[in-house]
Symmetry: C2
Subunit: 220 residues, 2 copies
């Protein structure tokens, strides 16, 4: 199992027994997400912004307007920290202190560059659409020159990363197991519902199979 090297930046200190640096595990968590949270520095302050992303091998792509402050700041800093988090459950212990959550969380530290090559840039946009709904790129109208030129695509090369996973029940102090206080887990999941078609579609426009597959795989 290939792993990311551990440095001060990505070493998980709190709750280190839940940490992993395994690249495949980290990639699976990344591929399960839709939104990431990116940090950037503006006027000496760390600012956090949610944004869509896609992964290709050890690269994360994000995109936005040419004037997007977050993206321009990231380019200037040339490094980025990204967090992707899936909440899987509320862990309700007997004691307030041992309340927790089940989750899968990844922190990435990478170097940032602008994707300039047109082929690579179009490929990145394809990855972003297909990260929303696998295979959907083939269904839609591709970007025209004006749209393409108005889009800034950044590549964040993953230099190092870590994941934290909690996937278990409540863990209480020994003496609390004798109490009559309830403990357990409330499972949480992000689910998709049946597509709502646009009202302005020509009659008999069919919902693409890729969209139906996505919903079917992600429904409650």
């Amino acid at each position: 199992m290939a792993k990311y090297s551990i440095s001060k930046l990505n070493k998980v200190v709190r709750g280190s027994k839940r940490a992993t640096y395994d690249i495949e595990t980290i990639n699976t968590i990344l591929d399960d997400g839709f939104l990431c949270h990116i940090g950037y520095i503006y006027n000496n302050q760390a600012i956090v912004i949610p944004t869509a992303y896609a992964r290709k091998e050890d690269k994360i792509y994000i995109h936005g307007s040419l004037k997007n402050r977050m993206m321009l700041s990231l380019l200037e800093a040339a490094t980025a920290s990204i967090s992707v988090t899936h909440l899987d459950g509320l862990v309700l212990a007997r004691s307030a202190f041992h309340h927790s959550a089940n989750y899968r969380s990844v922190n990435i530290f990478g170097t940032v560059k602008k994707v300039e090559d047109p082929t690579e840039k179009m490929e990145a946009l394809k990855y972003i659409i297909n990260h929303m709904v696998p295979g959907h790129w083939e269904n839609v109208r591709k970007p025209n020159k004006k749209e393409f030129d108005a889009t800034l695509v950044l590549e964040i090369h993953i230099e190092t990363a870590s994941a934290k996973i909690r996937a278990e029940g409540a863990v209480d102090d020994a003496e609390d197991y004798n109490s009559s206080i309830w403990a357990g887990v409330v499972p949480i999941k992000q689910v998709a519902y049946d597509p709502v078609s646009d009202t302005k579609l020509p009659e008999k426009t069919k919902i693409p199979e890729e969209v139906l597959n996505y919903v079917s795989k992600n429904k409650s």
Copy 2:
């Protein structure tokens, strides 16, 4: 409607028609969340960490270990930026360019201080448990002195904030409405499932009404 004042820090520039500074709207989005993403600066780099939180009036509480790097860095910086994001749908347009998401997102900029007063600190811990499951604090064993002393609670006073909300269908270029490409929205929601009780509970331990209410309000 009371609003946060607009500065360079919180002004929404991209997609400003989706922005609001209305305090009540912002509070509703905050109260709907469980995890926030906090940014802090470590070695001149912005790092993003997910964490649980609670809101009381214009204050956000977070808690952690006394040695938590993120919390100690926030205390040192004395300011914090927090992002809370709810994904509500995938917006699948006819054109790749107009793909988007429906979401409710808040960015907070605040000042950070350690909660030292024991009454206020215990109250903050109560808010954090009740933010997970409303009213659940009364069901659990309260922190003992050792647990209480081992917990660091930070108060982030909201100095300014902004929200961005997108809640509509696909919006395409006029000429694309004549095409036969499908467009629509896939609704997304974070849902709760029936509680899974701990296997080590004494027989006949009942699931608290507050937990059942929470699941009932958040189920699919």
